[in-house]
């Protein structure tokens, strides 16, 4: 009966489902894009490491101050295989107000993993000023005829251009750590220290060592960091709120569809009552129709978001920046929101239909 009713009013059903589909597509796209961005940022921290050390209570890693000497201290302990300091900074370039800058040591693994398009890793030295550009950064930062680039108020020689999988890194500039500290007046400091554990050792050992020696710093496993880092939480929450709002707007179309559906067939509903439908059956039918419209919309929206994200990913300029991640959690969230929207949207129409007096409704012209 529910399916038959929807089939009979295809345009109305289609409009209702389209509203939900757009809501679902928007929500999944926003959540997927931001989720992907978070994952990419996480990967910047995770290169060959299981843990990250940063300043306790720092609202953003850009404001975290960790002494570089900590990396040496950690490497002397038996439970750490390797500790690498990284300094995050933002620098401007001509016609480009924001360029992400990574201050790293020459032995840092991330440059070795890239595909070198110009120069080679040997040109990137700890005691020099030569920088390495990500492939995308090389597109928008002008390399002068002298082989130098202008970053902030300084000019730096370019040691090479490297293609990196991660969009943030590919659009950034890698500076030797010392040069980066000097440029940003952070002598002896870095933003984070990434920690690779020695074989057979546990992260708890690092945590307890850190708590006793450096109580102003915190050491977290990568997963733990992702869960607790406030910027990620803000991004994820924003994604769900923006997506949810889009979704609720779509949900209004379901309410509208269901109201029209009830008002447009008052006599039919009255006849159903005369044929023995109870008030609960009538209400159940309206809720069922709404849920079905919503389910159709969710499936279409899921498809649309997947298609849209794949198209975005295929755009050359976006490559590396978009790594959509629509996991089961996101899909379950969208389905739950769709169901709630459907039920909420059908509440008034269902109540109206259920309380209908069939005798009066049949007199209604």
């Amino acid at each position: 009966m529910i399916w038959t009713n929807l089939r009979r009013h295809r345009v109305r059903t289609g409009i209702g489902a389209a509203g939900i589909a757009l809501g679902v597509a928007t929500m999944l796209s926003v959540v997927g894009l931001l989720g992907g961005a978070v994952k990419m940022f996480e990967r910047i921290l995770r290169t060959d490491a299981e843990m990250v050390v940063f300043e306790k209570n720092a609202s953003d890693l850009f404001f975290s101050n960790v002494p570089v000497s900590l990396a040496d201290e950690l490497e002397k302990t038996p439970f750490v295989k390797e500790a690498r300091p990284v300094l995050f900074a933002i620098v401007s370039a001509p016609d480009r107000p924001i360029v992400t800058c990574f201050g790293i040591e020459s032995g840092d693994g991330r440059l070795r993993k890239g595909q070198w398009l110009r120069g080679n890793p040997k040109n990137f030295k700890d005691d020099a000023r030569a920088v390495v550009l990500g492939e995308r950064a090389a597109d928008f930062v002008d390399i002068g005829p002298d082989g130098e680039v202008e970053l902030g108020h300084e000019r730096y020689p370019v040691a090479g251009v490297v293609r990196l999988e991660n969009g943030f890194e590919n659009g950034g500039v890698f500076m030797p750590l010392a040069a980066c500290q000097e440029a940003f007046h952070k002598s002896g400091a870095c933003s984070v220290v990434t920690v690779a554990l020695a074989k057979g050792h546990d992260s708890k050992e690092v945590k307890s060592w850190m708590a006793s020696r450096h109580p102003q710093l915190t050491a977290l496993e990568n997963e733990e960091f992702s869960r607790s880092y406030s910027q990620f939480q803000i991004l994820k929450t924003t994604a769900w709120v923006v997506g949810g709002c889009a979704f609720l707007l779509g949900g209004l179309s379901v309410t509208n569809t269901m109201i029209l559906s009830v008002f447009g067939r008052i006599k039919e509903l009255a006849i159903a009552r005369v044929c023995g439908f109870s008030r609960a059956q009538i209400a159940g039918m309206i809720f069922g129709e709404s849920l079905l419209v919503s389910a159709i919309g969710t499936m279409v929206g899921w498809g649309l978001s997947g298609l849209g994200l794949q198209l975005l990913k295929a755009i050359p300029q976006m490559q590396g920046y978009i790594e959509p991640r629509i996991g089961w959690m996101e899909i379950a969230g969208a389905m739950a929101l769709a169901a709630i929207t459907a039920l909420a949207g059908a509440m008034y129409p269902a109540w109206y239909a259920a309380k209908l007096n069939p005798a009066q409704a049949l007199r209604f012209e």
Binding site: M1, R8, V274, C275, G276, F277, S278, R279, P358, A359
Partner: protein
Amino acid sequence: MKSHVSIKDVWKSFDAGRIQVLKGVGLEVPAGDVVALCGTSGCGKSTLLNVISGLEEVDRGEVFLSGRDVVNESTRVDLLRHHIGYVFQFHHLMPDLTLAENCMVPVIAAGGSRAAALERLNELAEATGVAHRLKQRVRELSGGERQRGALVRSLMNDPELLLCDEPTGALDESNRERVFEILVDLVRRRGRTLIMATHDLELAKRCDRTIKMRDGRMEGEIL
């Protein structure tokens, strides 16, 4: 369960008591009777049928169907599902559904077996002459076919009591005669009770009893 309609001193008004439609109506209908309610428009025939089926609540008085008080919602729903069939002046079928789909609505409401219902549908459609039209959409049927379809729908759950409100009122003469004959024949052959509101005295006289209503009251039986 054999239907027996018992109505005692029923009063019903609309518009907060300003329009008094039934004024102390009483009626006893034994099971198996074919009863016609006659009277001019507005005399209360349709309201009385609605009161019997529980579609309208009474202001005062008692309505019993086979000893069951038609007062609460669950009784009303049960009666409409299993014990009462209703045919209106206008067929009130859903135009964009097929006739068969329309006839299955009471079966869906009652949660009956589909296979048994289809068997019954074919039997009733055969008896009413619409078997060849079951797969047609209602909008493609003639007026007489639609009304016969409505009759099939009302009988799908094999009710003991059939209430008909001007069932032939919107039909031309030949269809009126045919629908009435099918209706009475089906009811008599199955030993069911029929209460039919009609303007048509000729048809009314062919029923077992003809009761005249006037201004919300029973005026008496026409013998």
